[in-house]
């Protein structure tokens, strides 16, 4: 406890103006913390560009979204009616919205689990390869260079209803695959393409994580346990935890937001009865349907969900991560 609260600074706590002046001139209450910059404004100057970007591209539009979510508005901005929470009630009371929300959750769990699992498996195996390791790694990583819409297009060629090889493969096993018509068939395509696109990213991080596990630790583990699985579970995996935690957050964000172009390519602008994520629905209602109020309410709901999720992750998961 080197930090002492401001109010406990001696017998008389400094007035607000006093503190403001101190802050302006860079005089902090606690001189120990004054390390690099002599002037209180200088550090602000350095973070200003970043702050400006965040304010202009995040806080300002977010505030706008919150405001519009309480109105039903003519798209051209002529008339608007204040409706209070009606947009929220409409969204949360709609069966379609809730089924989209459930799908998003399901999609998130499945894609994250598969992408992380397969990424880790490939990384562990690649870590052991000695001969031709470079070309093996390059092959795996190269998929990452493909832009999501292109990945979607490639995927759709495989899943095409009339001539896709996957459609033929499924037909061979007696299932008529109808991506774009059948809800679950489209789900299969969506998950396959999204996972495929994300594996290389996870692979790169897991591999570098594995390579930073010290050889001495590995050798020590070799003496303690003969079973490769136990060594992996008890030694390697805990050391990989920071990487895994980082990837978990990135993968959840990926499935919730960055799969947008893949969905867009698959549903081809006409979602019909096909599954989609909440973000895609925000886009559809806002940009295709020109329902600004309803779409804003949905994006606020999404914002709250993501914020809650992030807090939960950091509170409950990060505690268990050992940063070495």
């Amino acid at each position: 406890m080197t930090d002492t609260p401001l109010s406990a600074q001696g017998p008389t706590a400094p007035s607000f103006l006093h503190r403001l002046r101190d802050w302006w001139s860079g005089e902090t209450a606690n001189p120990v913390k004054r390390v690099q910059f002599g002037h209180g404004l200088t550090p602000w100057l350095f973070v200003l560009p970043q702050l400006a970007v965040v304010v202009i591209f995040f806080y300002w539009p977010s505030a706008q979204a919150v405001t519009s979510s309480f109105y039903i508005e003519d798209p051209f901005g002529f008339g608007s009616t204040f409706v209070g929470m009606e947009n929220y009630a409409d969204a949360l009371g709609s069966k379609e919205y809730l089924s989209t929300a459930w799908f998003t959750a399901f999609f998130c769990v499945v894609v994250t689990a598969l992408a992380l699992g397969i990424g880790l498996l490939l990384a562990v195996k690649a870590d052991k390869v000695i001969r031709g390791a470079e070309s093996y790694k390059t092959l795996l990583i190269s998929v990452y260079a493909i832009a999501p819409p292109v990945a979607g297009l490639i995927g759709m060629m495989f899943f095409d209803m009339h001539m896709g090889p996957f459609t033929r493969l499924f037909a061979f096993f007696g299932h008529e695959l109808r991506v774009g018509v059948d809800y679950w068939d489209t789900t299969i395509a969506l998950i396959t393409i999204s996972v495929w696109k994300q594996i290389p990213y996870n692979f790169i991080f897991f591999l570098s994580g594995l390579q930073s596990v010290p050889v001495s630790v590995r050798e020590a583990a070799l003496i303690d346990a003969r079973s490769g699985w136990r060594r992996f579970k008890d030694v390697t995996l805990p050391l990989l935890a920071p990487t895994a935690f980082f990837l978990l957050i990135i993968n959840i964000t990926y499935t919730m937001f960055d799969t947008f172009p893949i969905i867009d390519v698959i549903v081809k602008d006409k979602p019909a009865n096909n599954p989609m994520t909440l973000v895609y629905k925000v886009y559809l209602d806002g940009f295709k349907g020109n329902d600004i109020g309803g779409s804003s309410a949905q994006s606020v709901i999404l914002m709250v969900v993501v914020a809650a999720l992030t807090v939960l992750q950091f509170r409950f998961l990060e505690r268990r991560v050992h940063y070495g």
Binding site: I72, E73, D74, P75, F76, G77, F78, G79, S80, T81, V83, D90, E96, M161, H162, R178, G180, V181, D182, Y183, K268, D269, K270, P271, A272, N273, N274, L284, D285, F287, K288, G289, N290, D291, G294
Partner: protein, 431 residues
């Protein structure tokens, strides 16, 4: 190098000072060959006079063009001309003050304008309930039925006029080894144009023309439900193939020569000439002989051009000039022959006919003839807000009908209740 650059700058300077042409912009949602033809027409317009200079800009799809236009309008950066598609018409027409009615604009610029010059099926769709043109009809299309000529010869049957005819010939086409029919965009074909071809009411308030408040969808009526029960029955019997909401997925079996009939747009003609490797023809989209008063004209599909408000008079006059240029028979015929969209004026149709275009390509005439069929009480158009979303609801329910998840009646009940909720929401936007 330096010399050429100076020369170019000098030239640019003299060009701008010498003519001082008024610049106007046109945002549209067309790509591929159609987008090229738009550029060609703009160049022709610019070459035809020297007061105005038109720049067309592609904004992606129809939906993207509309939402870009809206965003631009809200920040005061709107183009002079915005292309808006059929389903988005209600959105822009309801926003009074966002546009200048095309008719007022043209007359205000002292140009000639006569509603009667336009072919019957085109006159009302983008007009108000008094018939005043708000949007300028531009690329207009009609849903027509394309036929694989070989399939019909093989099966020894005649093209259908009515759906009853279809029921008679479809099994024979199936026997001959074909999938009898596919259709793209069922919302346009089997709901909107089911309404117009069979003269059926689509919405209260005179199909929505008489006001925004209180307009309700008429979707779960007996005839509409019957149309889809038949489609489902045909799909189960292998007489009709349903391939989801995507346009191309439903077209593909026809292009590959597997399907005998495909209901598509008259505007698809240009593309089909390249992609279909077999002789094909086209007939009107069928109607029901059993419905009294059926066989009327279809709604126009496609899009119209809207003159955006808030522009100086000189620019508006240029927009008016361009609208007049666009409806000139020569421009219309050029557009018609290069894209497959129908000409919007009678004079243009006559010109194309006199040039012998239809003797050479009879399929190109089917769409316009269908739009010139006698009209009925419910064939002038429909006007419903948030209509793109209502279409999405329909698309979702249609997938459920054909996968057997819901009955046709339940699906249309959902369409009507969700559609009406959207219409009620839209009424609130007018505040």
């Amino acid at each position: 190098m330096f010399k050429t650059a100076t020369a170019a700058i000098a030239l640019a300077l003299t060009a701008s000072t010498a003519f001082a042409a008024t610049d106007i912009t046109w945002w549209h949602g067309m790509g591929g060959r159609n987008g090229e033809v738009i550029n060609e027409i703009s160049q022709k317009f610019n070459a035809s006079q020297d007061q105005c200079k038109l720049t067309p800009i592609s904004k992606g799809t129809y939906e993207e063009a509309l939402s870009s236009g809206i965003a631009a309008f809200r920040s005061g950066e709107q183009p002079n001309i915005l292309q808006v598609f059929d389903a988005g018409a209600a959105t822009i027409i309801a926003a009074k003050g966002a546009t200048i009615p095309a008719e007022d604009l043209i007359k205000g610029a002292g140009e000639k304008f006569n509603r009667e010059d336009f072919i019957a099926g085109v006159r009302n769709f983008y007009a108000d309930s008094d018939g005043k043109f708000i949007g300028m009809p531009f690329n207009s299309s009609a849903p027509i039925m394309y036929l694989n000529t070989e399939a019909f010869e093989k099966a020894g049957v005649e093209p259908p006029k009515t759906w009853e005819d279809f029921e008679k010939i479809a099994p024979k086409l199936k026997e001959a080894g074909y999938l009898p029919m596919t259709a793209s965009q069922l919302t346009w074909m089997m709901v909107e144009n089911f309404k117009s071809r069979n003269n059926q009411q689509f919405a209260t308030n005179n199909n929505g023309y008489d006001g925004i408040k209180g307009t309700e969808l008429v979707a779960n009526d007996a005839n509409q439900v019957m149309m889809f029960e038949k489609l489902k029955e045909w799909a189960d019997q292998g007489l009709y193939g349903f391939y989801g909401a995507g346009w191309a997925d439903n077209l593909k079996p026809f292009e590959e020569g597997k399907a005998a009939m495909w209901i598509g747009s008259s505007g698809s003609f240009g593309g089909l000439q390249k992609s279909a490797k077999f002789p094909f023809g086209a007939v009107f989209m069928p109607y029901w002989g059993s419905i009294e008063g059926a066989g009327t004209q279809s709604f126009i599909g496609g899009a119209a051009l809207f003159a955006m408000a808030g522009k100086p008079k000189a620019e508006n006059d240029c927009t008016a000039k361009f609208f007049t240029f666009l409806t000139a028979p020569e421009t219309q015929v050029y557009w018609h022959e290069n894209t497959g969209y129908v000409p919007v004026t009678e004079a243009a149709y006559e010109l194309a006919k006199s040039q012998g275009y239809y003797d050479e390509k009879p399929v190109a005439e089917v769409g316009i003839q269908q739009l010139m069929l006698p009209g009925g009480e419910w064939t002038k158009g429909y006007r419903m807000g948030f209509y793109p979303q209502i279409r999405s609801v329909m698309e979702r329910e249609f997938n459920r009908i054909f996968s057997g998840e819901v009955s046709v009646k339940d699906a249309f009940d959902t369409i009507e209740s969700e559609g009406n909720a959207l219409l009620a929401r839209f009424a609130k936007t007018a505040g």
